[in-house]
């Protein structure tokens, strides 16, 4: 039986304190293990429409490690990794994902619209592209009204770059010169569709030249690599007050969501799994890293929280 003290330890530590590899790995592992448990709850019909990050955890965790605690993030709908990367308290997070009244948004937002001002995760939106102009507006307000050096980081996928909101938002970001770090999680998928159906260019960053927004492409599955380049990019955005795009190459190793098939063959998925960011980190951390202890501690905490959350009720439903 894991002690309550050990369970408390499983809570990820505040943003500024975790810029070491073990802590980065712990966050990625927490995302992975929570999503595995949520998948089982989905299969049991206890939770609705969730979107998982398996294979992409290094981006959220690495980028958020490079940000200041006062910086803001705005995300797409695949939000569990970003919440944990920003050290969201786990029990209210799980409660929100399950639509319970004890959730961080009172159970009204769910996974795809979750926000938490305490960790400066200000906005998440299901429909692709929306997050970009919203993030631009937030960045504008921080720079021109509040006159702070805080920056906004917006996370989106490669398929988003074909949506009108991406282009309208990028236009305004460039025109208004806002401090916006654009993180493209390029997983080469739009739901279940492959790039030949949605991306007319080889990369997303090619598109940014049209807006005069500088950009760079990196490997998004090496968490240390992600953190280093994100630090560089965040610093650049903070210094210049202008937008910058980092395109991160990654693979989603799970379905788009429960109930959908996967166009990729099993052989191809096995190949892709070789790029699993957790596997890469485990190799880098070496055989002496106490992975099993971490798995036990995180697992016990998650099981405790999920058990308690399941006993909670939904929020009241009122006319709005």
């Amino acid at each position: 039986m894991t002690s309550l003290a050990a369970i408390a330890e499983a809570e990820v530590s505040p943003v500024a304190q975790y810029a070491n590899h073990a802590e980065l790995y712990r966050r990625m592992l927490t995302v992975r293990m929570l999503e595995e448990r949520l998948l089982e709850l989905c299969k049991d019909g206890l939770v609705g429409d969730l979107h998982f990050n398996r294979g992409q955890e290094a981006i959220a965790v690495g980028v958020c490690a490079a940000l200041q605690p006062t910086d803001h993030i705005v995300t797409h709908h695949r939000t569990i990794a970003h919440q944990i990367a920003r050290a969201a308290p786990l029990e209210p997070l799980i409660a929100e994902l399950l639509g319970k009244k004890t959730g961080c948004n009172g159970g009204r937002a769910g996974e795809m619209h979750i926000s938490n001002r305490e960790i400066r995760h200000d906005f998440a939106f299901q429909l692709v592209g929306t997050c970009i102009p919203v993030a631009v507006g937030l960045a504008w307000a921080l720079k021109y009204h509040h006159k702070t050096d805080e920056i906004v980081t917006v996370f989106f996928g490669d398929a988003t770059s074909s949506n009108g909101q991406f282009h309208e938002g990028s236009t305004i970001a460039a025109l208004k010169k806002v401090p916006l770090l654009m993180i493209c999680e390029n997983n080469h998928l739009a739901g279940n569709i492959t790039p030949e159906y949605y991306l007319p260019t080889k990369t997303v960053r090619e598109r940014m030249a049209a807006y005069g927004i500088e950009s760079m492409g990196i490997d998004g599955n090496n968490v240390l690599h992600v953190m280093s380049w994100a630090e560089m990019a965040a610093d650049r955005v903070r210094r210049t007050g202008r937008p910058y795009l980092l395109e991160m190459d990654t693979e989603r190793l799970c379905l788009h969501k429960i109930g959908q098939g996967d166009v990729r063959s099993k052989e191809h998925l096995t190949e892709l799994a070789e790029r699993d960011p957790l596997k890469l980190s485990e190799e880098q951390l070496g055989p002496s890293f106490p992975k099993q202890k971490l798995v036990d501690t995180i697992g016990a905490a998650l099981d405790l929280y999920i058990g308690r959350v399941l006993a909670e009720g939904p929020p009241e439903m009122n006319n709005a």
Binding site: H72, V74, N105, R108, A109, G110, H113, S115, R117, D122, F123, F125, L127, T130, I132, P133, V134, A135, V136, G137, L138, A139, W140, A141, L142, H145, H146, G164, Q165, E168, G169, T171, I172, L175, N319, A320
Partner: protein, 360 residues
Amino acid sequence: MKRDPFHRNRKIRDAMYRATIEAMRERPEIYLMGEGSHMKVHFDCPELEKEFSERVITLPITEDANTNFAVGLTLAGLVPIVDVISSDFLYRTFDAIANTAAKQATVAEPRTIVIKAEFLTGGPTTGQRIESLFAAIPGLRVGVPSNPDDAYAMMADALKHPGVTVLFEDRMISDSELDQFLYKPLQKWATQSATPPKGAVSRIPDGIIVSYGLTQHILRWHGWASLDLMWLYPLDLAVMLNNLKKRVLYCNAKEQSLLIVEPAQTFLGIGAEIAAQVAEALPGVRIKRIGAPRCVIPASRELHDQMLPTIEQVKAALKELEAAGGREGTTGRVCQTRIRQGNGALEANSRGKKPARAEK
């Protein structure tokens, strides 16, 4: 009276700007934004441009992103007024209003946003009256002021309301008509309270004819008072229902009538909702609706008038209601409410002609 679809009536617009300027003086977090916003305030409200040019944000022709951008501002504690201009442009940013702003207001801490659009009638994309679409969306408050006092109060209130308000400026309500109906002059607004009337419908003694916006004036011009909804959501029908209820008790349920005159299409319009609520609350009340056809605003100027209800339709509908109740000739008691204080002003319109009067 004949309405010129291209005439720029100023009074309701000026009242909204007055409320905006006064709020901006007190609250540095209020910003005005939209396509060509600097140019628009340059011509429409030079005072605002002179005093708050740095708080006007001119954005590209990116309607949907502009509203999303405004939602971003609210996340940093700012209060944006998004000027969408023609109401048809609301379709372009429907997603950002319905999906982003309204949902943000319902799933997280609600934040103040005002979305402003205009009605006129000059062609297929010049102000389609689509307010009922927005009234149907959870998370939105929707208002159509029919006069400068209400426009002032509703804008002032919207800027304080923790949530999303869609406000319509009806450019078809003529300044000269407003002059006729004893509305307060502009200089008084600066000193009066910005607090709007409680509930939507406290001023009209008898809630027998219901309308809002432009149709208020079509009725007034002909000497008919109607209950002004002002806010289409929340739809406060308490006063009207009470009035009807009293009459139901006093007379006989079978003798009660409700006429709804709306400036927008009747199909799935606000009148349909009112009719349903009244029918559920007071079975037996006879109800009729008059409004626009389910039609895009025509390009032909000859057809523009057909997009608005006429007084002949109102009279015919009242006769029909009376006949259905078997009480021919009793309209005056049941359905007809004359404007007492406004009668003097009805003697002449701005063109020096005596307006048509409703028959007694």
